[in-house]
Amino acid sequence: MSVFRKHKSIVDRAASDRVRHKKKIEKAIKHSIKDVIAEESIIGQNGKKKIRIPVKGIKEYRFLYGNNENNKTVGSGGDHKLRRGQKIGKGRGNRARGQGMGPGTNEKGEEYYDVEVTLEELAEYLFNDLELPDLEKKQFRFVSQEAVKRKGYRFKGIRPRLAKKETVKRKIKRRKMAQKAGTFDPESDERFPFHQNDLKYHYIKPKDKDNSAAVIFFLMDVSGSMSQDRKYLARSFFFLLYQFLNHKYERVEVVFISHSTHADRVNENDFFKVATNGGTIISSCLNLELDIIEKEFHPNSWNIYTFYCGDGENWHSDNETSLDLFKKIKDLSQLTGYCEINETYKGLADDDDDQTFGISSWATFSAWKNEEMENLWAKLGPLCDNKFKKVMVGDTEHIWTAFNALFGGKIKS
């Protein structure tokens, strides 16, 4: 005789393994992010757009037979009209998974599979573990009061907020007391009506939603030396920054400034599309930024972020002026980032996406390129601390590491 048991498991036994698997996917997404963030198609898209990310590393590997002529498959045919040489499909991918053990031979041995995420989710994955550097509480300019919260009960209130359950509870309490005291007999037909004192109301408290405002200044060199490739890198870098700050702040204002020998405040479209020419005077855009900050974004109410991106070339005579201006901006900003696009920079050996980069290690590359130590990169050295950072990008794969370096690269554990 068999035994029948109603299974009463309280624990979902696969739960911890599912969590672990999910973590692996997230990690893999983070790992592939380097490839994704520089994707042309996602730059300038809004948050709802879905993108496909190739994710690697979650596949399990075994010795398998490859998909080739010597590896034949057997199956049953639908009718008897089969003939040799007949084509029956595009590839093994079309075939449903075989049953039983063995991985089947339908995978093509590719290391990647796609995960579809929205940009918002992508930002979530990317940035949840990164902390903004010392986020001072500013006098928030946008304090919304939309949120209200129920908080306890009061004896007075408006009718729609009547707390029915509490009211009935009080009535029952009163009736029990009346019973004990002998003033009310439950057996009788007598009604026991609500009393004014039974009524209780929900209390609603307006809740100030912490709302933080930030303004980001994107400054880009559009002088003749900024080639298409360099601009592309700059663009990818800015895109990532924008997504990050957008993710962290309720409200983000963005100011785009492009400069060659003089600076212009432009809109997003022009910022990325405008053709490049002319020489480079970095101070021009820094002056413009200070101007705009004074007129529109008072540092007491705004978290200011400034990111400069250029190829590191500047008129010699302008270097000292720029340095002073960078100092000023640094004092006003939460964070100032200086990014140099430099193809000769090959990056540091990094396989570990969790790695933190010492800022000092970046310097040598630019110095090597410009031969003299008089260049801006070197001069900016003394300015560097946790509010001013410089990074170098030579290739799309450096963007993520540069980004990590900028924001402290600290991964919350």
Binding site: S2, H7, N68, N71, V74, G75, G91, M101
Partner: protein, 435 residues
Amino acid sequence: MSTWTEADLLYWDEKISRIATDLGLDWHPIDYEIIDYQEMLGAMAYTGLPTHYRHWSYGKEYERTHTLYNMGQTGLPYEMIINSNPSIAYLMKENALHIHVLTMAHCVGHSDFFKNNRMFANTNPNNIIDSFKSAAKYVKKLIEDPSIGINKVERILDAAHSIKYQVPRYPGIKYKTQQELLAVEKAKMEADPKYKTNLERVPLEPQYNLLRFIAEHSKHLKEWERNLLLIVEESSKYFIPQAMTKIMNEGWACTIHYKIVNELNLPDDLHLPFLKLHNQVIRPHLGQVNPYHLGYKLFEKLIKDFGFDEAKILREIHNDITFLRCYIDQEFLEEMNYFSYSFKKTKKSLTIDQISDDSGWEKVRDELIKNVGLNRLPVVYVDEIEKNNVLSLVHEHDGRDLDVAHGQKVHDYIKILWGDDVKLVSTVENEVWEF
């Protein structure tokens, strides 16, 4: 809402058991767990074992099944049964009574097969649940050990899982130890002065048990890492006989459930849905081998030719390979309309190679056997530990080339376990290929 009660299950189980006894079947008692959809997914992820150790791949399996099921690409199995004593089987609450009747009869067939087929002779069903439980406990202990933790455990398990099927395939063969082999070789050399062999060589004979060999010979593995490899090897041992007999096992269980249920005299409102379900289970899958179909049809033919008692003997002595090799013939293949196909680079398409006619049926049979159970997986053996502790592995090439990308990954995994360099030799497109 269920349309059945536990009393129904007990009622039909009693009848099923009586008929099965009359058929001369001999099975372990069965414990049925009545579970819901979520629990079924969970049970499936761990291949039914209630005490399996933790690993993220089972979480992945859970999600995969869940997704496939949600997209309607797969149904949940009606039956899942574990080779233990008593056998543990699962019945999903949401299923209708006729499904349960079929499942219970089917499970009797499986349990009978487990108990009698010789491939399962060494599976130790009395202790399997406990041995998995103690393995799970051990893995848990390692994960919770602050000096080890989940990452280090996964590093080993991920690698070990990549070669979990690289274990000896035929149960019951006693492999000689290095010492015993040495004794044999020495005796041979004494008997025949001309006979020469290198006694220093490790191993003296090809070793097919990669997990065990690495656990025993790696110079770098820590004690707990060796133990993990042996745990994986142990669980492979449990699955190997099932992989070796998938077609027979399912075919036998289908034969039994059909025989039993037909004798149950089910009322029409149960019998008609039962017939429908039975036909669904044993229908051929286009372009694939449905083991339920193949096994059922082959047993049907054998019972017709030799009788049920003879079939009971066959279910004891064969595995899928020998079973197909001995009993499928041209007539059978033609009726089943089996054909072989492969991907042709030149045509960029899957193309039919052979069909089951006069000139092709033997080739189709041979390809079919190549695709049965573990034959679908390449064999890799340890050839020798070379100078500088290089582990030299050889892929036994049988005409089919390895998937190079996967091979490379597995090679990397083996290096993690071995700790020193690993050489893997194979043949790809008729040339020697070394990973």
